[in-house]
Amino acid sequence: MKKLFSAFFAVVLICILLALGDLALNHQSTGGSGKTLTIYNWGDYIDPALISKFEQQTGYRVDYETFDSNESMLTKIRQGGTNYDVVIPSEYTVQRMKKEHLIAPLDHRQLPNLRYIDPQFLNQAFDRGNRYSVPYFWGTLGIIYNDQKVTGKDVQHWEQLWNPRLKNNLMLIDSARDVFAVALITQHDSVNTTDYQQLKLAQHHLKQLTPNVKAIIADEMKMYMEQDEAAVGVTYSGDAREMMNINHHLHYVVPSEGSNIWFDNMVIPKAARNKTAAYQFINFMLEPGNAAQNAKYVGYATPNAAAKKQLPKKITADKAFYPPANTMKHLQTYRDLPLRVLGEYNDLFLEFKMFAK
């Protein structure tokens, strides 16, 4: 019994010491000032040097918290009790947050640097007039392939994924919207279709893809493609960039007949505590020099026209990440569909996955 008590006491003591240590460290970095800016962003999605620069310029202390999916972020904010000042959701989530009155309209007078954003990325269907959001990065859905296993010209278009030569060599991202987008584009339908017949047709087409499908996975695809586990994958440009940095045999293609284009955007939640700092931060990130530095670090495509000019030619001339105008014009964004339709997409997708045996 005595032993048990001393063990218990030791654990409590360790906890207290750790808590004190944490408190001391935090106190040091605040320098006593209570001015904090809390950012809620995807993991590893900003150049940390920019955060330090912002802190030095403005004297605010930045609290950087991360999430790994739009849905988990949304659930957390919906529950309340959070005080994030700047959040970076994808476009369909911006639409939903707007509908649920979770984000505040932006005062454009406080964001003079908005003028640097390329007009083709402003005034999108998910947020007309950019009343609530400012684009942060953008990207596409596309095909990644390994040049040791397939030749580039065999995987330029979605329809080519159905080629029997790719038998058991294709990896799909585990997301209903993205997999259906591929099938819907091959039959020239909108990726936001709410027509059940079109979805049924798309599913029928997908079922014919099953002999080629090796696995339907999420983030693990990066690791598998890097390790040459499969020849071809359907993934996002951001993930593709990471894979290509590690395995130089990988290449990324955005099919010219169309694909999904996505945006990650800076928004200010209604519950923000430090709106002044939030505006300062968004404006800071829109400054061409900072945006270019961030794009170099993160590796995604920047919507900032002035920043793009500052980037090395090698990056901006890459058609995989900055597609030419005739591809750009065929790209479609996802709209936030009614839950009922979203359910249909997912039920049909589940059925397709069952069929994938």
Binding site: S69, E71, S72, N168, M171, D174, S175, A176, V213, K214, A215, I216, I217, A218, E220, M223, Y224, Q227, D228, E229, L339, R340, L342, G343, N346, D347, L350, E351, K353, M354, A356, K357
Partner: protein
């Protein structure tokens, strides 16, 4: 008497807050559609959809296979462990992997099974060529069984250790062969451990979902996959809860089937 009543308070609170309340909430949720209207539609949807019924069949089938494989491996293991000197130490080695996070163990298997992984390197070295190991039923079963084995070994080991050795000696004295002793004495007496092991393995196996994606590449779909999707992607909590209720019912059936029937006057 009053003091005894006081002792039951923490237990009762625990059961009500963390067992009864969640079950009631799941049951309650399952009667609502996505628009928040009360409905029996989720159950109708479940019972009339060939997708869900096939998925249920899949889940039960895989859980059954996993349980059988684990039992076949675990019973002899537990039996041998019981006859070793320092058996507590050997038992510790069997339990040790449960101290490591499930996800880490699964990732380790990816390293072993992948095309450039250790096993394929060995196969190539011995001239057997490289094979597709990941994303197959076999690899899924292997990893699931590996993860569940300690939960099967432990109860069987305990029930074998509890058997009074004089019963076994008596069996030999009365002229029973080794096989007869095992069949008539050891096996029936270790039954409670086997049943507990089956419960501990079958029930979690019904709703496995991380391994189905990581090792099975989503080519093995169980009810767990559907629940995850309904709660996280479609936000159709009603349907997710309905599948949850189905799983709970399945668990009650298993508990009933493997439960101790002695008290009801049957022979075991």
């Amino acid at each position: 008497m009053r003091q005894k009543a006081m002792f039951i308070v923490p237990y009762a609170l625990w059961i009500v807050l963390f067992v009864v309340a969640p079950l009631v909430l799941i049951l309650y949720q399952s009667f609502f559609d996505i628009n928040g209207h009360a409905t029996l539609g989720n159950y109708a949807n479940y019972l009339t959809s060939s997708v869900y019924l096939k998925m249920t069949l899949n889940s039960v089938w895989y859980a059954l296979l996993i349980t059988l494989v684990t039992l076949v491996i675990s019973y002899p293991t537990a039996y041998v462990l019981n006859h070793l000197p320092n058996k507590q130490f050997w038992l510790l080695l069997v339990i040790l992997p449960t101290w490591i996070n499930l996800l880490l163990k699964t990732y380790a298997f990816i390293g072993l099974f992948s095309r450039t992984g250790t096993i394929n390197q060995f196969l190539q070295f011995t001239g057997l060529g490289s094979h597709q190991l990941l994303f197959t039923d076999a690899s899924f079963m292997f990893v699931a069984a590996y993860i569940e084995i300690p939960f099967m070994v432990l109860p069987i080991f305990n029930s074998l250790a509890e058997i009074n050795p004089s019963l076994i000696n008596a069996s030999y004295d009365l002229g029973a062969t080794q096989w007869q002793t095992f069949r008539k004495v050891i096996w029936p007496l270790s039954m409670p451990g086997v049943k507990a092991g089956i419960q501990a393995v079958f029930i979690p196996s019904l709703s496995l979902f991380m391994i189905t994606r990581l090792i099975g590449g989503n080519r093995v779909i169980t009810l767990g996959t559907a629940i995850e999707e309904h709660f996280l992607t479609t936000q159709n909590w009603g349907m997710g809860s309905t599948i949850g209720v189905v799983l709970i019912i399945a668990m009650f059936i298993i508990m009933f089937m493997t439960g101790d029937k002695k008290q009801k006057g049957g022979r075991s």
